[in-house]
């Protein structure tokens, strides 16, 4: 690391004990909170999560009220009702559960498979790297959404299959990011030191390489989650994802299509929800990237 050279040239008093410094984690949190946009993203994210967790408080998303169909916002229905007289707020809240689940689960799936593959490819090189990298290239040849749509079409519509389809689509980027990190980290002096201290491959990967690759992976995750959230909406919109009557932002958008002239707000609410969710993750991700950037350290 190039930044390492600077402190060395200072003939600092090596023996003097410096005043106690804050833990790295606290300094990072502090730095993150200096970024207003990221804090805004974090707040929105927390609100969406709260909405998803508190969804039952907003009423039954499946209760039809045919006396109040396609209504605008009112006291009884803060965001209005849809074509079957169902409360839009309740459906948005339940939809948040689906979207968050799909986004987070698909990303976790991609990480759970992609990170180990990336570690193996980057650390062992050789034929393992060859096979894994070509597989990655193969997957990357398809655009994210096209691949997800194709896989979802094969797997059949359900939330589980949406998660699998999106997880596989997000796989190659995790393999790439991990492999790239490992390629750099395996040449670090402290890895050579660990070998000299008698550490085996498993220990080196788990203690010396993975912990130091966490930052870029975390950032990649915050990029992937909104992608997956949008992906879920697209799949549900196309009828390849969550099936009605289960509320999801995508299915809500899809249903609202037919009533754009009578009740345009019906399409606006899920649209805004998707946009806010994706935006908030991206803002948080930006903040994390800048916060965890080793070059900003010291």
């Amino acid at each position: 690391m190039t930044t390492a050279a600077a402190p060395m040239s200072q003939p600092g008093p090596a023996l003097a004990v410096p005043p106690p410094r804050q833990r790295r984690s606290r300094r990072l949190v502090k730095r993150f909170f200096r970024r207003r946009l990221s804090v805004f993203g974090l707040v929105v994210l927390v609100l969406i999560l709260a909405l998803a967790l508190a969804a039952p408080l907003f009423g039954d998303p499946g209760r039809n009220d045919f006396s109040a169909v396609l209504q605008g916002p009112s006291a009884a229905h803060p965001l209005g009702t849809d074509d079957l007289g169902r409360d839009t707020l309740a459906r948005i809240a339940y939809g948040a559960r689906v979207s968050m689940q799909a986004g987070v689960m698909a990303t976790l799936l991609a990480m759970a498979v992609g990170v180990p593959l990336g570690l193996i490819a980057g650390y062992y090189r050789g034929w393992a790297d060859l096979v894994i990298s070509r597989l990655t290239d193969l997957l990357l040849a398809f655009p994210f959404l096209i691949l997800a749509v194709g896989l979802a079409a094969i797997l059949g519509p359900s939330l589980r299959n949406v998660v699998i389809a999106l997880g596989i689509s997000a796989l190659p980027s995790f393999i790439r990011v991990t492999r790239g990190e490992v390629l750099g980290l395996r040449e670090q002096d402290y890895v050579a030191g660990a070998v000299a201290d008698g550490a085996g491959d498993t220990r080196i990967l788990s203690r010396y390489i993975l912990p130091n690759a966490i930052s870029p992976l975390l950032v990649q995750a915050t990029v992937t989650i909104p992608e997956a959230i949008i992906g879920e909406s697209v799949l549900s919109f196309l009828g390849l994802g969550v099936q009605p009557p289960t509320p999801s932002w995508g299915t809500m958008l899809s249903a609202a299509q037919g009533f754009l002239s009578q009740a345009p707000l019906l399409a606006v609410w899920p649209g805004v929800a998707i946009a806010l969710a994706a935006l908030s993750f991206n803002l948080v991700g930006d903040g994390l990237r800048d916060t965890l950037d080793p070059k900003a350290e010291r």
Binding site: P11, A14, V17, A196, N212, R298
Partner: protein, 341 residues
């Protein structure tokens, strides 16, 4: 912890040596053909002895040391014998070697700034080795880690143990690395240019610590350096290497007083020093050794230093000079041994 290693009876031929390296040859196969990195190095290391391997960059001193616990890359071929208390390390399996590394033979590397894992506190990194090799509990390992930091003279070790490497200076980190290296009471400590990356003011402190380890724990040390000042300060015995070959070997006082090989003479002439009672003369030029280190592509049957040597004659390029005593207990590989003027 076993500090009294000398009591054990070795089974190998080199009876009193803790570590015995015999006729070591190391070749790397590369895309451009083989590289003969080390050709015929032999030395014995007794318990509590500090042996210096000296030479220019690329002379094979680091490679020699790395080969001892099998740390070379897979494209290296190692021939010869490396006996640790009579046990040939070259015959060990990967798993057996891992048990030797860090436990019986450990390393201190040159780069203190990048040789510690930035993700964990230094205490955790010391505990790691202790838990792995000694099976200590976390609590016992923690206490031992604090003791080790105290041993390498880090002030306020109780607090320092919970710090991350980036909170420490280069000298501190080098001490932590020494603490990790000696955590399991190794018989042999290899210090590869331990002071090169440090400020001169800190170097003396680190050398003192190494000397202390030898005196208190009886650790044998292989000191790899090109700094003859460090050698004079710390070493008991010296092996001078040139282009992968040992060219001279002697006790440190003998070597400095009566250097035999012209390369050793050259090295000594390239060091600033003051004569007896005479101040260092400003403007007095250091002597350099003309020419470059030869390529290691081949292992020619001649003196490898001949092209740069002021004393070279026909015999030097006709055959290889044997490493034979030119003074008592002082072998040098030269047909024209002796001190410069």
């Amino acid at each position: 912890m076993t500090t009294t290693v000398s009591e054990r009876v070795p089974t190998g031929p080199a009876s009193d040596a803790l570590l015995s390296v015999q006729d070591l040859h190391i070749r790397f196969s590369t895309e451009d053909g083989p590289v003969h990195a080390v050709n015929g190095v032999s030395f014995d290391l007794a318990a509590g002895e500090i042996l210096a391997l000296v030479g220019e960059s690329g002379c094979g001193k680091s490679v020699t040391a790395m080969s001892v616990p099998g740390l070379l890359s897979p494209n290296a071929t190692v021939d010869g014998r490396i006996l640790l208390q009579g046990r040939d390390l070259l015959g060990l399996s990967a798993k057996e070697l891992r048990a030797v590394r860090g436990k019986e033979i450990s390393f201190v590397f040159q780069e203190p700034m990048s040789s510690l894992n930035p993700a964990f506190t230094v205490g955790k990194q010391i505990r790691e080795v202790l838990q792995r090799h000694e099976g200590l509990s976390k609590k016992a390992a923690h206490e031992r880690a604090v003791d080790l930091l105290r041993l390498v003279r880090i002030p306020a070790p109780e607090r320092r143990v919970d710090e991350y490497p980036h909170q420490m200076s280069g000298g501190m980190r080098q001490r932590v690395m020494i603490a990790i290296a000696v955590a399991c009471g190794p018989k042999v400590l290899v210090a590869d240019e331990p002071t090169t990356a440090l400020d001169v003011t800190i170097q003396a402190g680190v050398l003192d610590i190494l000397r202390g380890l030898r005196d208190e724990l009886g650790t044998a040390i292989i000191l790899i350096t090109h700094d003859l000042g460090v050698v004079a300060d710390l070493a008991d015995r010296v092996v001078v290497m040139y282009a992968g070959r040992p060219v001279e070997q002697a006790e440190v006082h003998e070597l400095f007083a009566h250097p035999q090989h012209p390369y050793t003479n050259g090295l000594l002439g390239a060091v600033p020093h003051r004569e007896k009672g005479v101040e260092l003369v400003a403007g007095r030029r250091l002597r350099e050794i003309p020419g470059l280190v030869p390529s290691l592509r081949s292992d020619p049957d001649e003196c490898v230093f001949a092209p740069r040597c002021p004393r070279s004659t026909e015999v030097c390029v006709s055959r290889r000079p044997p490493l034979e005593p030119t003074r008592p207990h002082h072998p040098a590989a030269c047909f024209h041994p002796g001190e410069d003027e």
